[in-house]
């Protein structure tokens, strides 16, 4: 389908100082031959927008190429009615602000970006959103503890019907087993009654909440908007799911764990809590709490459970209330009382009978009725001997797995676990999100936390669950490409059932038929395009992001011949962190080498080898891929896009060797969003390397 393309160039924001936009119009209108081509001094102003809208109305323009600032800025001004495509070319940051003004190389860059934009626009088609025929607006909540109850209440109060399932005979979870709870509001002096009682009452009274006790999930199929949950032999349909499966106390495998199970005076904090609830707290003169018992310890749990310090302070109060002369020792590595817990900590500090010792546990042994503990004090550097009647181990929290969800996904029944076995998709930027779209984790199943935090967390996760339902009604993606209506479309005639897409999709978008052909669930998709990069047969494409579109952009770049001594390097930049970093560099007035041509990609994982071979055979001297940092402290917005790029580098090297090219012609670098200096350094260093290697022999062909 041929398009009526209009090109609009902005000279505002000092673009005009670097690029003579009138001359750019003159050069490009002849070459690209658009229906109309204008230069305007402020394209985002009402006058500029009117100019475009008039052309749309009068000259039937159905595709606009806006060469001004980039995506993310002034998006509303350049969004036109349905049926009109817009392609943004960022000549502001990538050319005008970062290259020498009014010189040949800068003009060549501006020309190329226009050519690339034009070619991309020409091969892009209109996106028609994928919308399910029937969308369930009900929400499943898994787990009836504090988080699950709170999530159910939040969802019901927002007007959604909630199905709350609990495997035990009654609601409340761990929190209903405690006698008292740490106060989380003024005054912080006294322990309060557990709030979970009130939550249970509110859930039971709410008509929008259906509670299923002693229930387990048999299977979950489908996708956001139409999950089918098999439960107790029947089946319900829900739009999204909140899992609040909770935690269990850490139980060490080893026999030699602080004398636990060997010395009767040694108990864990959960065991103590059970004694208190049963009214069996012994009246003792001296108690030692050992913090981080099996936490922040590479042999046990390597993380901090964040609640044990608060719990021990609370339990110290249990003993103090029982016995006015009891001496309580708290042996700690660091007291970590997060948020309002600090206020409670300060209250407990006022009690002189509580003795805080910063140190490391060394040995424990029974001496008659009491226990002798030897401790290495960290402040004085001395060994201390303590004789106490009772030792309480503050053990940490372990997340309950999510396999009980029984997902009928090709990639497994549970949610994928990341660091420390917590199901999470991106712990910095997207809390609650798991790697299964439409399923959100709340409370201690996703991170150790206390009761107030779990209640807040439940609210957050429930909002995400509601958002998914609403987004699926519009056929839109959720975070991080919120609002994106494109979705993967498969040209299955060419599919070889290689299963690469079904394995590499981080979000389980694809299931398989028995023969291995991918079955796509568009609502599970986050639109990262990793499947586009994975497919060797170029089967998968999005309406506005496909192998063809990027290939056309690559081929549109004008490659000067070898004797011009103007090398060309293609830089694939991930739109999530690397692109903002590059734009930031331009705003900070750093120079971008004028010989590079930047193409923004959804994720490094979406780079298909075809683009590499196209670029090299087109005459690019090198290819630099810049994305988010991979690894455990990951920054990658799509979890393992950056890792996949590293894994695929072998295939890339193979591509290079079949073309008889040096392996250095492809390079991958990782940056953080704030590292705008680093991204410029990476580009400059790579340019130097390319100068050394010399021009691409394919240039002349």
């Amino acid at each position: 389908m041929t398009k009526n393309i209009g090109i609009y160039i902005c000279s505002g924001c000092q673009i005009g100082n670097s690029i003579d936009t009138n001359k750019l119009c003159d050069r490009m209108s002849g070459e690209l031959n658009p229906v109309v081509m204008h230069s305007h001094k402020a394209l985002c102003s009402p006058d500029g927008v009117n100019l475009i809208q008039k052309d749309i109305a009068e000259k039937n323009i159905d595709a606009c190429l806006v060469a001004a600032c980039g995506t993310g800025v002034k998006d509303d001004a350049f969004r036109f009615d349905n049926g009109v495509l817009t392609e943004r070319v960022n000549i502001r940051e990538l050319v005008a602000w970062s290259m020498d003004p009014l010189c040949e190389d800068t003009d060549m860059a501006a020309d190329d970006y226009l050519r690339m934009g034009f070619a991309g626009l020409d091969s892009t088609s209109i996106t028609t959103p994928f919308i399910l025929d029937e969308i369930s607006e009900e929400i499943l909540v898994v787990g009836g503890g504090v988080s699950g109850l709170s999530a159910a209440i939040e969802g019901a109060e927002a007007g959604y019907r909630i199905h709350l399932i609990e495997k035990n005979e009654r609601l409340g979870g761990w929190a209903s087993k405690w006698k008292k709870q740490i106060p989380f509001d003024e005054p912080f002096e006294d322990l309060i009654d557990p709030v979970v009682t009130d939550l249970i009452k509110r859930v039971e009274e709410n008509e929008l909440i259906t509670v299923y006790l002693k229930s387990g999930i048999e299977k979950i199929d489908g996708q956001p908007g139409e999950f089918v949950v098999k439960l107790n032999g029947s089946s319900i349909k829900v739009g999204s799911i909140v899992t609040a499966a909770g935690w269990r106390p850490y139980k060490p495998d080893s026999k030699d764990f602080y004398g636990l199970g060997v010395i009767p005076n040694v108990i864990t904090s959960v065991e103590l809590e059970e004694k208190v609830s049963a009214g069996k707290l012994p009246k003792v003169e001296s108690v030692l709490f050992i913090q981080c018992a099996g936490s922040r310890d590479l042999e046990h749990l390597s993380y901090c459970s964040s609640i044990c310090c608060g719990i021990s302070l609370k339990q110290a109060k249990y003993y103090r209330d029982e016995h006015p002369d009891a001496i309580i020792y708290i042996l700690y590595k660091d007291i970590r009382t997060i948020g309002f817990l600090e206020e409670f900590y300060k209250e407990v500090q006022d009690d002189p009978n509580i003795i805080f010792i910063k140190g490391e546990f060394e040995t424990i042994q029974q001496t008659g009725d009491s226990v002798e503990v030897i401790v290495q004090d960290k402040l004085l550097g001395e060994q201390l001997t303590l004789n106490v009647e009772q030792v309480v181990l503050a053990t940490g929290m372990v997340p309950n797995g999510t396999d009980d969800l029984k997902l009928g996904y090709r990639l497994g029944e549970g949610l994928p676990e990341l660091k420390y076995e917590f199901p999470d998709s991106h712990f910095i930027c997207f809390p609650y999100e798991t790697r299964r779209t439409g399923i959100y984790a709340a409370g201690t199943v996703r991170a150790p936390m206390d009761i107030p935090s779990s209640m807040d967390d439940a609210g957050g996760a429930m909002l995400k669950a509601i958002q998914t339902i609403e987004a699926s009604k519009r056929g839109e993606a959720v975070h991080p490409r919120s609002g994106d209506q494109s979705y993967p479309e498969l040209y299955l005639e060419r599919c070889t059932d290689c299963k690469r897409c079904t394995e590499e999709c981080p979000f389980g978008t694809y299931d398989e038929t028995s023969s291995g052909t991918p079955v796509v669930y568009p609502n599970r998709c986050r639109r990262c395009g990793i499947c586009v990069g994975s497919c060797p047969e170029r089967v998968i494409s999005f309406a506005d992001y496909s192998i063809n579109i990027i290939s056309e952009k690559i081929k549109a770049v004008n490659i000067p011949d070898e004797f011009d001594e103007k090398p060309r390097v293609l830089v694939f930049v991930c739109e999530n962190d690397a692109m903002p970093a590059l734009e930031m560099a331009a705003r900070e007035k750093l120079s971008i080498n004028p010989y590079v041509r930047v193409i923004s990609v959804r994720c490094l994982g979406s780079i298909n080898r075809v683009w590499i071979s196209d670029a090299l055979s087109h005459g690019f001297d090198g290819i630099l891929q810049i994305g988010c940092k991979p690894g455990d402290n990951y920054q990658c917005h799509f979890i393992h896009g950056s890792e996949l790029t590293e894994q695929r580098s072998e295939i890339m090297e193979e591509t290079l060797s079949t073309m008889m090219l040096e392996p250095e012609r492809i390079m991958t670098k990782f940056v953080e969003i704030t590292d705008y200096k680093g991204i410029i350094d990476h580009i400059d260093e790579y340019m130097e390397e390319i100068e050394l290697i010399g021009p691409n022999p394919f240039k002349d062909i």
Binding site: D325, I327, Q349, P352, I355, I357, L379, L380, L384, T385
Partner: protein, 364 residues
């Protein structure tokens, strides 16, 4: 290996006297860093704050470092948690006077404000008893002559004996203090002779060279210097006066060099005490805390000096109240001189001992 056995009562008493919430200390070490007096190795008051939080009375009392502190208050000013380490050390020193008091009840008698009436009644009754025994317990007629009220021989003899007795008993306490320092702080124990060590700290005492390093309360050096030398001069004058009384040349004429020296030293005492009292009254909130022990010493010294001057004037002006004032003056003398080992004034002994001990262990 340290056997941790907290003395919670001691911890509570420390908190009560110092007003410092001991568990609040987060061991950042700012106190030791800002302190100009603290040694480089095992500096105070950080470790003392740990011991205080644990109620380790043995590690605090009988700890020479507590006496290397001159309560400049630099640590308290910079403490981010408002724990006021200077006041904690000061409270420890108060508890030291109490612990080593010999007989023990004297420590309580002078450490608790509730017992002040008894502390006053004791010298009143004893002095009155001595005068009664001398047979002069009535206001004499004629021009003011104090020896008619309290014969010099009786006065000098009885006061000298009681003072010596008090100090002799106190020496047992000082001995226990030395022993405790040896037990609990053997690492810093004596490595050189006693006299050589004392010679080493003479400048700290006589030139106030440690005081000079204070930043927060720099005026303390001046006031302490005035009181210190004012008191020493008065002591010399008193000894000469006793000698003069024995050789029947008493009272001294106003032009007598010793009399002039006496009056000059009263002036020094007045100035020094005035600055000290002023500083404590206008003290900024959060700075050095003034406790009963502080006020008891300052008050009795001030009253001693003031009543001494008034008694002298009363003699020249022939005031009718002169003998009552004289009696009051003698009670003040009792408080400052005879009670010395049990009040804050005892620091001249304890601090000297501790500084000598620390010096002998090469702890600087």
């Amino acid at each position: 290996m340290l056997d941790l056995r907290p003395d919670i009562e001691f911890k509570k008493e420390l908190e009560r006297i110092s007003g410092a919430p001991l568990n609040t200390c987060m061991q950042c070490g700012t106190c030791s860093v800002v302190c100009n007096l603290s040694p480089d190795v095992k500096p105070f008051p950080r470790k003392e704050m740990v011991y205080a939080g644990w109620g380790m009375s043995d590690k605090l009392i009988g700890n020479p470092d507590v006496w290397l502190c001159h309560q400049c208050g630099d640590c308290s000013t910079h403490c981010p948690r408002g724990v006021n380490p200077a006041d904690v050390l000061s409270a420890t020193r108060q508890l030291t006077y109490r612990k080593y008091a010999m007989p023990l009840f004297m420590g309580k008698l002078l450490g608790k404000p509730g017992l002040l009436p008894i502390a006053i009644l004791i010298p009143v009754l004893i002095i009155a008893g001595i005068i009664f025994a001398a047979g002069t317990l009535k206001i004499p007629e004629g021009p003011v002559n104090y020896s008619l009220f309290f014969p010099h021989a009786w006065l000098n003899a009885s006061f000298s004996v009681i003072t010596l007795l008090s100090y002799l008993l106190a020496c047992f306490g000082f001995g226990r203090f030395w022993k405790d320092m040896n037990i609990h702080h053997s690492g810093t124990g004596p490595k050189m002779g006693l006299f050589r060590s004392f010679w080493g700290v003479k400048n700290d005492i006589f030139a106030h060279s440690r005081f000079k390093k204070c930043e927060e309360n720099s005026s303390r050096k001046v006031s302490h210097f005035l009181v210190f030398y004012g008191f020493i001069l008065l002591l010399l004058v008193t000894i000469f006066a006793i000698y003069a009384a024995i050789t029947e040349k008493y009272p001294l004429a106003l032009t007598n060099p010793f009399k002039i020296m006496g009056n000059l030293s009263s002036l020094m005492l007045f100035t020094g005490l005035g600055i000290m009292i002023y500083n404590r009254i206008v003290a900024k909130p959060g700075s050095e805390r003034s406790t009963y022990t502080d006020w008891l010493l300052l008050g009795s010294m001030f009253l001693l000096t003031a009543s001494g001057v008034i008694v002298e004037m009363a003699r020249f002006l022939d005031w009718s109240l002169a003998y009552y004032l004289y009696f009051f003056h003698l009670v003040c003398v009792w408080f400052v001189i005879i009670y010395l080992p049990y009040t804050k004034f005892g620091h001249i002994i304890y601090r000297t001992i501790a500084m000598t001990y620390a010096f002998s262990g090469r702890r600087k």
